[in-house]
Symmetry: C2
Subunit: 181 residues, 2 copies
Amino acid sequence: MAAVDAVLDLVSAGATLSGLSLVMIAEHAGVSRNSLYRRWKTKDALYLDVLDAINKPLPVFDGPTARQDITAQLAILILRTLDARAGSMLRALLAEAGAFPELHRRYFEEIVTPRREVMYGIIRRGMAAGEIRTDVDVALVNELLVGPILARLGSGNADNLDPDKTSRQLTDLVFEGIAAP
Amino acid sequence: MAAVDAVLDLVSAGATLSGLSLVMIAEHAGVSRNSLYRRWKTKDALYLDVLDAINKPLPVFDGPTARQDITAQLAILILRTLDARAGSMLRALLAEAGAFPELHRRYFEEIVTPRREVMYGIIRRGMAAGEIRTDVDVALVNELLVGPILARLGSGNADNLDPDKTSRQLTDLVFEGIAAP
DNA sequence: CTATATCGGAACAACCCTGTTGCGTTCCGG
DNA sequence: CCGGAACGCAACAGGGTTGTTCCGATATAG
């Protein structure tokens, strides 16, 4: 799978999905351009394999409090965001969602939806346990928690995120609010 | 400036900044390809004019409470995010920051920094007035407020945002927190 | 009215990417 | 040992983009 690594390297270096040429991929992978055509009928098919390569399963959270689980899940999210190759790939994918509809569909289906469901589950568990107010919108709470991280991913300046520190700061802020007592 | 509009239209339709060709822009603008070369030495120069075209000055907020100013500023941000042409342009720009360094620099300098400073000012005013806790990081609070909106912009599904409703919900949530009493 | 500037149309060579084909080579299993 | 499978190399035609140039039309200003 040298081609998959080549795509990740090149995209991480600033290439666009539609702008990437098979000759570039072949050269960077040290592989004949012919072999790429043999294995993948189209560039989309190759990109689908790239997407699979960066999609690792999520761990299951079951700590004593929902608050701790939220912090842990945010830390995981930050960790994955810090992976420059995967992050660049996702950013490039989102920027050209229109040109690669199937890729965009599977991205939502296999990456964002599972993460979202995990977070929803934790939040609902916190509500049931009396940790979290029940008069707030679960989806909006989730957006509030992951929004800052995803915004960093989109802006490309996710480098100075710290999994432990930032996840704790975000959780504290969202739980306690910023209103003065 | 038909060329600027053409770029916005095409990018909004899914085109990439590096993928956009001058022939496409010329055709869509109903302008001779020759004229484009005459006015803009390079594609970067044209894109800089496009960036200027979507950069409207920010209104000044000076309401009775910082909370209201924050809601108003978020509403403005959502409004601008809802502009499909400007939003697509910014998303495309961020996706190819590496290929257009000057464009990326001026985007930060002329768009994100001013907005950020406005928000910082409002938050600090709220702190001085005793509305907002003083033991929180101003930058982090700002990220918490605008993160969800920018994440929507990056994901491309900003359509179902409502300036009034969402800005109020976000402000309430961030002020009050989600912890059960 | 006229002269200058601006524009559109067309053509040009040079380059890159795409699919595809053909052929020689290398590697691995039976 | 041998044969098939996978690979690399080269070439091809076709299409697209880039700068640039030349020329004719048009409009604008003096």
